[in-house]
Symmetry: C2
Subunit: 202 residues, 2 copies
């Protein structure tokens, strides 16, 4: 039973933007990135894990140095990340993951992930790291933990006549639903506890 | 015996800038960051480890979106990193380190490291990660691996009447000299092998 039980939890109202007030029984109003940052801050504060988002890589082309104030970047470009967005340590193990949000109701298009990210994730898995994807279907207000090994299977299949996406129904079955957690918002370490440390569970 | 044996290795000439050609028997001409990036690329290519430099954190304030070309950041500021610069996985263990270069001949001033970086490193060590500092005395053309635990000791001492720096002689004794390595340039994993995996040695 990896899929949600349909239960919703009251959101912390102060996090809700005006347009989302009416959806106060949902997790809406925060982006997936904000939710994961909240989880990571909670994990650090409670000394459960040390996991950070890597800064967005930027190619700095021009910098202006005004007198008596901070250097200003006047020309820069966003670069494509060569790795995943998040990594760190939990229970002594190396953790590495990517987070993706889709508005698509029926499937997660694999084009959302870059080939070099898959290469990186395969290397990490090969070195004994815990690697996964956090996936949000914003239309369903649902977030899932998808083990990297499952992702690799569908990724590789697309070059062998398979689909260019993973069906929503597949992710419900093969992923792990992440229910709203009051403090962490997205308590993804609970899935790692279950999968790798035989702690907790349903 | 952690200190150098005085042997120098011929540098790869193509890496040397014009002004440094005369120093072709040394490791000069490459910054510490370039050397570590070379080591990390070598480790990834040979599947020894997956270690990356984190991108420099930048606060993006203004972005211009020209038609038919890439978004241009027109105003941005360098932010102070809240963690160390490098992390990854080696032999299944989480690796986390910072690299610093000093022109000082006699000591490494502790002001080169930020309090929040020390906090981060202490957390990492507490969670069972392998944590250290790579330190280059550019005037001596010498690079050392300093275990985080040694760094913490001198860091904490400065608030208890101790020195605001670590002496060069202390680092020669308590750190591990990193000799020039033809492929990796700075083969810091060899020190980790010795300290944590009882592999290799002098």
């Amino acid at each position: 039973m990896h899929y949600p039980n349909g239960k919703k939890v009251v959101n912390n109202e102060k996090f809700l933007s005006k347009t989302n007030r009416k959806q106060e029984f949902s997790n809406r109003g925060m982006t997936l990135e904000e939710d994961i940052n909240t989880a990571n801050a909670y994990y650090r504060d409670t000394e459960k894990a040390i996991i950070h988002k890597k800064p967005t890589p930027i190619q700095v082309v021009n910098v202006h140095y005004p007198k008596r104030s901070a250097a200003v970047i006047t020309e820069g470009y966003f670069k494509q990340p060569s790795t995943t967005d998040y990594n760190g340590i939990y229970r002594g193990k190396y953790i590495d993951f990517e987070a993706k949000e889709t508005k698509n109701k029926t499937r997660f298009p694999l084009a959302n992930i870059h080939a070099h990210q898959i290469r990186h994730m395969k290397s990490v898995a090969g070195h004994g790291g815990i690697c996964f994807l956090i996936l949000r279907f914003s239309a369903h207000e649902e977030t899932y933990y998808l083990p990297a090994e499952t992702l690799f299977q569908y990724w590789d299949d697309q070059f062998d006549g398979g689909r260019k996406s993973i069906r929503y129904e597949t992710i419900r079955k093969e992923g792990y639903f992440l229910p709203f957690h009051y403090l962490a918002r997205i308590n993804y370490l609970a899935v790692i506890d279950k999968l790798y440390f035989q702690i907790g569970g349903e």
